[in-house]
Assembly symmetry: C2
Homo-oligomer: 350 residues x 2
């Protein structure tokens, strides 16, 4: 085979058994070993048996990278995560990996750490490392660099929570609008109008879709949208804490607060505590996204829930389908609003 | 170069620009391009310039895998995480990746999902994918399969929270003993003797080291060690919840509870809530490990803290040092006990 790869000695030292050893043991040519291992149809049963026996006896592990150069498949999926410190993403990745593993795929995870530059590099890295497909939650949807990296990817791609118009990619998106709409409607029904909304930037679908739900509830109730209480910027806790201080030290101040994302919720609650404003008493509060041990530590908080297990599972199933030649589709995972104690309060100060 | 790799056409379709294109553009032989890209010393300045200009003009990205076959280095570190759903590990991995990235290395993360079988496969996968080094938090330290996988690794390895006697590996371990010793001593000083201890299995260093601290405090105080209240098994919340039920429905029951790990803490607190036992009032409680938003949601809980940022940073620095030929060393990160409201209570039932 002209495509047989010569592996330099320096590498061979690292692995214990080489394809040469297998060929010697089986008493066949290296190209025959290669043909057996790559599942070439033109292999006699006795040849197949001799090689596989030698592989087994020597404990030979075919080199995945060399193999991938020959066959073009690595049975590995790359998962680019926007921010691994967000437990929601960790849970999505966990379930995704489980489903992929059951289907015979490994998953490698790369963290973009909230940085567009790192995200761009991560796409490049996965492409050059020859994964078979990529699942990604993006830092930004508007960055031209990321867009270019996606266009250059040329393998099945599933994006989490991103509208994919004009891109050849599958998507698993959550119906954030619906849950936030219900949560906002609930607050308006209780009598709130001055509702603050703190979340990440509008350059991601999540924020835009949540905001749609927020707006829709106000429009439907024919109540003016309190745009002066909307603070969008970053998902990090620091941003939300600072914005909570800025909004809730004004006079008059909002009577209710919705925080979008786990980081925003943490920051908002930290800010409220510093201002000695108690959710469920001094103000009404809704957390958008639940987190680890929510039932233990946050059982009094109203929430809009998106299920990370469902998102992870759907993402894995979609990319597996695309790897088999299936169409790039868009799947929707619903969100669920649950009112709890923290939705009470806030109105007596009006 | 006899080690030049012929890339089959099927693969070339995936990438836009090949080394052949660069050679044609630069008007040089492929082997010359290869020499320039691999930093071969025997390259003239004009050749260097011609090739690099062609690389730049064509936007050529050298194939990392083919490159790794030539050079033996991929500038990638593999991080095997015992359980990605544990936010502590996510934070360790996050910081580790940041430090590695600053040093020019990428990090890929693989989750063992609490399974020894997956962990063994992950070592094999990283070896075959040719990472330059591995950082790992192990599911089990006693599994012969994992031990064999480690022995076969043959590259720099840093283990988190594992004693590495007999292994050629670096380690970053926490001084769990000290923090748990102080927490236990504090409870004994308050008058507790019947202290329950729920945590994961003894097959990991973390548990053994915590238990040492627990035992030492009792020995020092000359109080009998309440071995009948020690429940070790799994780190998962379900286990801790069930054990909390088992221990705290006995009569007499323990007056205090220490839970080792975030999962154990979640399960223990869930169990106590179901039994209507309030930490800080009906029983004294100490959480071993803090978690995301601890300051917001768990500010009344006494804790033994290990700093994931410090652990991640030390792990990265150690493996970077080992990649440069440094010795495999053992680094120790201290833990810190902080008594809070939850340490009160429990004794009135005596």
């Amino acid at each position: 085979l002209s495509s047989e790869i010569h592996i330099p000695a320096r590498i061979s030292e690292k692995t214990q058994v080489t394809i040469h050893d297998v060929a010697t043991r089986a008493g066949v040519a290296i190209s025959s070993v290669s043909r057996v291992l790559s599942g070439h149809p033109d292999v006699s049963p006795s040849m197949n048996l001799r090689v596989k026996r030698a592989v087994h006896e020597l404990g030979y592990e075919p080199d995945l990278l060399a193999q991938s150069l020959r066959r073009g498949a690595t049975n590995t999926i790359g998962f680019i995560v926007r921010d691994i410190s967000n437990p929601l993403f960790a849970l999505i990745a966990q379930r995704c990996e489980q489903v992929l593993r059951e289907a015979g795929y490994s998953m490698i995870l790369i963290n973009s750490d909230g940085e567009i530059k790192t995200e761009t590099e991560n796409f490049s890295l996965l492409r050059r490392r020859r994964v078979d497909g990529v699942i990604a939650s993006l830092v930004s949807e508007t960055s031209p660099k990321v867009k270019k990296a996606i266009e250059n990817l040329r393998m099945p791609l599933v994006l989490l929570d991103r509208e994919v118009a004009g891109l050849n990619a599958g998507a698993v998106i959550c119906n954030h609008r619906q849950g936030v709409y219900e949560a906002t409607k609930d607050l308006i029904d209780r009598g709130h109008q001055e509702i603050a909304f703190i979340s990440g930037g509008k350059d991601v679908f999540v924020t835009r879709d949540r905001l749609r739900g927020f707006y829709d509830a106000f429009k439907e109730a024919k109540v003016p949208i309190p745009t002066h209480w909307i603070a969008l910027g970053r998902f990090q806790a620091d941003f939300a804490a600072a914005e909570t201080h800025r909004l809730f030290t004004q006079n008059p101040r909002p009577t209710a607060l919705m925080a979008g994302g786990i980081g925003s919720t943490a920051g908002a609650l930290r800010g409220l505590r510093e201002l000695k404003l108690k959710p469920g008493k001094d103000i009404a509060f809704v957390a958008i996204d639940e987190w680890l041990m929510f039932d233990v530590f946050a059982s009094e908080y109203s929430s809009v829930f998106r299920d990370p297990v469902e998102i992870g599972e759907q993402s894995a199933r979609l990319i597996l389908d695309m790897l088999k030649g299936g169409q790039a589709r868009q799947l929707v995972v619903e969100t669920k609003f649950t009112p709890r104690k923290s939705s009470a309060g806030g109105l007596k100060i009006k």
